[in-house]
Subunit: 427 residues, 2 copies
Amino acid sequence: MTEVSEPSNRGADTETGIANTTAIQRIGAAEPLLVDLRPAGEVIPGLAEGDLLHAGPPLSGWTEACGALRGSIAGALVHWGNARDVAEAEALASSDDFRLLSANDHHALGTYAGVISRRTPVLVVENRAAGNQAFAALNEGRGKALRYGSNDAGTLARLAWLEGEFAEILGTAVRLSEGIDVFDILVQALHMGDDGHSRQKAASALFANEISSWVVEAGFGTKETARTLRFLADNEIFFLPLTMAAAKSAMESAEGIAGSTVVTCMAANGLRFGIKVSGLPGHWSTAPVPFIHGQYFRDYGPDDSSPVIGDSEIAETMGVGAFAMSGAPALARYVGGTPEEATRLSLEMYAISVAEHPRFKIPALSYRGTPLGIDARRVVEQGIEPVFNTGIAHRTPGIGQIGAGFGRAPLTCCSEALNAMQRRMHS
Amino acid sequence: MTEVSEPSNRGADTETGIANTTAIQRIGAAEPLLVDLRPAGEVIPGLAEGDLLHAGPPLSGWTEACGALRGSIAGALVHWGNARDVAEAEALASSDDFRLLSANDHHALGTYAGVISRRTPVLVVENRAAGNQAFAALNEGRGKALRYGSNDAGTLARLAWLEGEFAEILGTAVRLSEGIDVFDILVQALHMGDDGHSRQKAASALFANEISSWVVEAGFGTKETARTLRFLADNEIFFLPLTMAAAKSAMESAEGIAGSTVVTCMAANGLRFGIKVSGLPGHWSTAPVPFIHGQYFRDYGPDDSSPVIGDSEIAETMGVGAFAMSGAPALARYVGGTPEEATRLSLEMYAISVAEHPRFKIPALSYRGTPLGIDARRVVEQGIEPVFNTGIAHRTPGIGQIGAGFGRAPLTCCSEALNAMQRRMHS
């Protein structure tokens, strides 16, 4: 291990150093519990009729939406009964009836191109340490999924069941459980080959185990109960939105600390990549979306791929995902690399981080904590861009996922954020 | 990696080489399915009233039984209603009413000091490739368990529920499922930090997931169903006897190949360690039990430990367990080592193996197959003893598990086996 792979809080006694210490303490102390599953309109403050929450920094409107996002929105409007078919839905989506808003600005997250309206059932995660909440939609499983822009009849039929029967049963089970500790599961999953982002196989299995007895006690029919458990057992990525909402609740608890250069959010909207830093709450620093190094499913390649979109990079922002790939050798192949490369990428991230995570540990690194608290200053100084994992959708609406890979958050986002902090201090 | 860490089939064209190729092909081709859960008397051929199947090579009788085995047998006799208390049970156990027999000689396995009688519900695993069956008792969970010699009221109450309500529900679920593919789960678990022996956390979670919908469809009451699922979700070692029975079914399919020096069984009875090789079906080669390098629970140490006992070394015999520790970094600490040491031990095993397993792969070693087919000749030539993982019980009956560790199968077992083969060829 080289010198640059050690985390450090540069100038720990300065205002920024003290602020960054506060930030990482809050992130490390977060205790997110899954406490409910409710229509977003009932739980997300200020979400109005016609509002559509999407991933990444704000878009100006439909004309800026990438293919996968258009496919997802059109499918959602058919799913909600706003339109009879995809063509009608696309016309409607571009009308004044609907408004695109950044999910991240509403304590919520869009998984890849998925959108949230008032009708969408969302997982409610509460950070017991800070008292704040964050929200994400249910995961539909791999393959043809609305969040990747798929919107054919099969996709919408599964979604109707997921947001209907399944959500009703799971919601009842979650309320009976009095809260599922998301980080308790994530801590274990990082010892079981998950990165906590693109690989959620262990966490999804542990969650399905933990909730299964409550699903039974929810008291629905045998068929419905068995169907619910089978979906949970078969969906290896189910835990992703739980990780995301939990990470969001942890990262938001570290927002708004004056002088802190810790990155609290990284996300993409299919056009721009954006970050937020703690000392500039509400301010997005953006740059054009970066290239994704991908592993494509049969028959597809880079030319087919959508520009990157999604809020799931909140995982890396909190120190898991690509930051924890040294514990996830089986993921390397899925995102197009080797275990050695994945470990090297992960280790590099210590060089831009303030500390090591107190709870997320990697057994293969002799229980070293994952890199915690990306310092925008160190990104710029070291010239090392934060790495993140991601799925890849087809660029054409309606097709769905075609691969998975990893990318780098543009360095210019961090330099823009530092400049904006400078301007604000001197204005 | 040094030269000795490459597997090889020495003299592949000789009678022994050809026989060893046949052996590893049968082991690699095994397709074990969990198909049933029944009282042993209904499924284990020739098991008579009063027969007690124990781990390892045969014991001459009660006087040879170690403390943990005595505790287990006494507890079992109370559990079955043969005796009113442990004292009465010990007297009874040494009488002519009961007969100690090696489980391995009856297609069955004893987990640590656990015993099987006609009344014990056993997991029935069928190797679809070869058509043979193998059997193991249910796992009670960690801590106070009869298989570690515990026999207090709490241990026996849990056992009564496990072999009563739980076994009835799980058995119904297994039959409804039409078979659970044990190796399909094990293959995945080796990518998720399990070694396939002492760490069964991923496999147990995946199994609980897969069976959960069948448990619901079994149609028992809400309370009983929820209790069954909760036990499965909480028992991180539940999958161990499934692995053992599956491995046994694979290894027995490779028994009796004339001239083969592949080890088909390794097991300990608390006094002697024994192996079988393919070319000598039914013949045990034994030596005094080896020392166990252990990690002890608080308040305990090596002086308290039972001499090693158990049939779970069938896992290593098939190429998992300590042979796959390079993929299980979180296990290293539990058995008293570091991830680096565990990897080194695992890699050493290639030097005494015929080949690499076609299905059991280690992502961290770039998907290298685990060491498959211990060649008794290579053990002797290289002077490298097969390593195995194990739990550790207290030497005094009634106390239970006090740690976990690893040991080495005595080299003299292998040299005795080779000598016996020579004798048989020249007789």
